[in-house]
Amino acid sequence: MNLRYGLWVSCIAVSPLCGVVAGAEDAAAVAAGKSVFQLRCAPCHGADRGGDPAHALLPGTDALRIKYQGKVPALLEQRTDLTAPVLHVFLRHGTWSMPPFRKTELSDADIDHIAAYLAVASHSTGR
């Protein structure tokens, strides 16, 4: 746990956009990332909320809303700090109730593409 936290912190501290800028300029990577995000991430972290307020239909978005209380966006597509190294740590080890994802589910390239997409998506939302 400490190792993971340490890696997460170092990624944030060293380079807020490490590994993202080049990918963000690559339209193919962004498009691929958007596709993977919508397929694999959006079912839990998507933007559309509905249902019973006590049990939101998108648990990932709702968990982050409760965690950050508006200080950090609950929507991943509005985040600017989810660089490829950060995503690799979270997705390969899991975090809280989000389990880890195997390389057969999400390849390393998929994760890089998601990071590229999130970088663009967050810019397009003006954050």
């Binding site: 397929l39 079912p43 709702d62 080890h93 109730s97 880890p100 195997r102 057969t104 589910e105």
Partner: protein, 558 residues
């Protein structure tokens, strides 16, 4: 390589991995700690402990021939394999094996939808196909068939069926193993077997008549280690034209008996999909007088308090699939039966929606009934639409803003499908919980069963209720595990067995099924030793241990 497979030296293990790399390629064999991390059970109660169920490696075949080759290598080295499909068996062990040091055969790369027959209503899929994958394919092809999905749609059809998982639509579809229609299996010696009509070369009916001729071994592959299923057919529900719901409430506690009798009649005539039971009295859970009466199972007082609050004791929500007219006729008939059988019952019209419903209709909160009666329907699963909506259960929520359920475990006991059995089970589970110092998640006196499998009820007992967001330290988790084992023993003594369990508890559940000196388990293990003499396939799965590793039975946290 911090873990070695049982019985292998580091050198032998390295040779096994090299052989696997020769079969699937270097990119698809994983053995380092980082790459193995996602193959651990994220919710393990033994996380970080020396006996946590972690594989030594993972190998990821892309086709059946590679699976056969992997099995043959494992046989030569006598090293145990553990197969996963999508690896999402959370609450029941996730992707973790029964034996620490197993080599996981990750079948996720085999992810093709092989066939969908819209006219004969079946699909054939590979192990890596999730409910979401099949649903998406059906939508892309604009086909008029439904897949009965598990609650969490990232799971796989094959893996869920192997675990005897369940869904929510009509009875024959929501029992996912019973809805299978033909499978292809790699045996321990690497041979490929087809069940049912698949054994007849050129058969046109593999996915319509699953039994074939003579003994059918299909059941051996569910919750067992008799083979690796690499292809499987599933019956699909034809898309109805209309969906309708209605709510029935009954005033008194003992009215649960005729209520369940009536609903069973409708269920077994295939008039309704899954019925959802609940108690409207749960809104009184903070009322001291009510809690006192509920904890004492004081039926007269519970009925008095219900009447004083103008509440009914029980409710059941019914759902009807068909045409607009047929669903209305069936609801009218259901109301007629209810009013005939249960004095004082009330019936409320619910939703009436043309199918397919829209995404907006799926997401909209359903509140069709007058307060305080609430709908329990999650429309997505009732309409075969896979989502991750219920993942709030182990997650950070408004109720638990600073924790998550680190020991998310599912344990449900089979309870007779009658009101008498449910009322008895409430008392039994309450007594067992108290005996083991478990704080129930809710009041047992108003707990209700789920009718996931059409012909029986399941009820979460004290074991399930104890799995809360609160047990977060390693010591607390181990203590919790110990309590769960004791609860399972007490359940068995009272006549209750569980239908499914994580690996860490599978021996404890298997112990429940002990008729005639465990003859069922001895029979299975006799077969296991004959079919898989080196004991390489999923040893310990379902409590069935091969001779070579039988000493491990119950060894975990003994």
């Amino acid at each position: 390589m911090s873990i070695l497979p049982p019985g292998l030296s580091a050198r032998q293990f390295a040779r096994v991995l090299a052989e696997f790399e020769g079969i699937v390629g270097k990119d698809w064999v994983f053995s380092g700690d980082e790459d193995i991390a996602p193959y651990r059970d994220h919710f393990s109660m033994l996380k970080g402990q020396p006996d946590e169920l972690i594989p030594a490696a993972a190998v990821c075949p892309a086709d059946v021939a590679q699976v056969q080759a992997i099995v043959r290598v494992a046989n030569r080295y006598r090293t145990p394999l553990f197969a996963i499909s999508t690896g999402k068996n959370f609450a029941y062990g996730g992707p973790a094996p029964n034996v620490r040091g197993s080599i996981t055969v990750d079948l996720k790369r085999m992810n093709r939808v092989l066939e969908i027959d819209e006219k004969r209503h079946f699909a054939v899929v590979e192990p890596g196909v999730s409910y979401m994958d099949l649903y998406r394919t059906i939508q892309e092809r604009n086909l008029k068939v439904w897949v009965d999905t598990a609650d969490v749609g990232w799971g796989g059809l094959l893996g869920n069926a192997m675990e005897r998982g369940t869904g929510y639509t009509m009875g024959p579809y929501r029992d996912h193993f019973s809805a299978h229609c033909g499978m292809e299996v790699v045996l321990a010696n690497g041979e490929l077997l087809r069940t049912g009509m698949g054994a007849l070369p050129g058969s046109q009916t593999w996915h319509e008549y699953r039994h074939g001729f003579g003994p059918d071994p299909a059941g051996l592959f569910a919750q067992g280690g008799f083979g690796i299923v690499v292809k499987m057919g599933f019956r699909l529900m034809p898309q109805p034209e209309h969906w309708r719901t209605g709510l029935v409430t009954v005033p008194k506690r003992r009215d649960l008996v005729p209520l369940i009798d009536t609903v069973n009649y409708l269920t077994d005539l295939f008039v309704i999909g899954e019925p959802l039971y609940a108690s409207p009295l749960r809104i009184l859970k903070d009322d001291a007088a009510f809690v006192k009466a509920a904890e004492a199972f004081d039926e007269a007082e519970l009925d008095r308090l219900a009447a004083a609050h103008s509440l009914h004791a029980w409710q059941v929500e019914l759902q009807f699939y068909g045409s607009e007219r047929s669903t209305l006729a069936n609801w009218e008939w259901a109301k007629e039966l209810v009013m005939r059988n249960i004095p004082g019952a009330q019936c409320f019209d619910g939703e009436s929606l043309r199918v397919p419903v829209t995404q907006e209709q799926i997401e909209r909160t359903t509140r069709p009934y007058p307060a305080p009666y609430a709908s329990q329907m999650r429309r997505n699963v009732m309409h075969g639409v896979p989502k991750l909506y219920v993942w709030w259960m182990p997650s950070r929520t408004e109720e638990f803003p600073n924790s998550w359920n680190e020991s998310h475990v599912g344990l449900f006991s089979l309870v007779g499908r009658s009101g008498e059995a449910v009322l008895k089970a409430q008392r039994d589970f309450d007594a067992i919980a108290r005996q083991h110092g478990i704080r129930p998640a809710s009041l047992y006196a108003i707990s209700t069963p789920v009718n996931w499998h059409q012909t029986t009820f399941l009820m979460g007992n004290g074991a399930f209720g104890s799995s809360t967001h609160n047990e977060t330290t390693p010591e607390a988790k181990i203590a919790q595990l110990k309590v769960l084992r004791e609860v399972l023993k007490a359940n068995a003594a009272a006549g209750y067995g569980d239908y499914r369990a994580p690996p860490v508890l599978q021996d404890a559940v298997s112990d429940q099924y002990s008729f005639n000196d465990h003859v069922l388990r001895r029979f299975n293990e006799t077969l296991k030793d004959a079919i898989d003499p080196n004991g390489i396939l999923l040893p310990g799965r379902g409590g069935v241990w091969p001779r070579a590793l039988r000493a491990l039975r119950g060894a975990l946290r003994k």
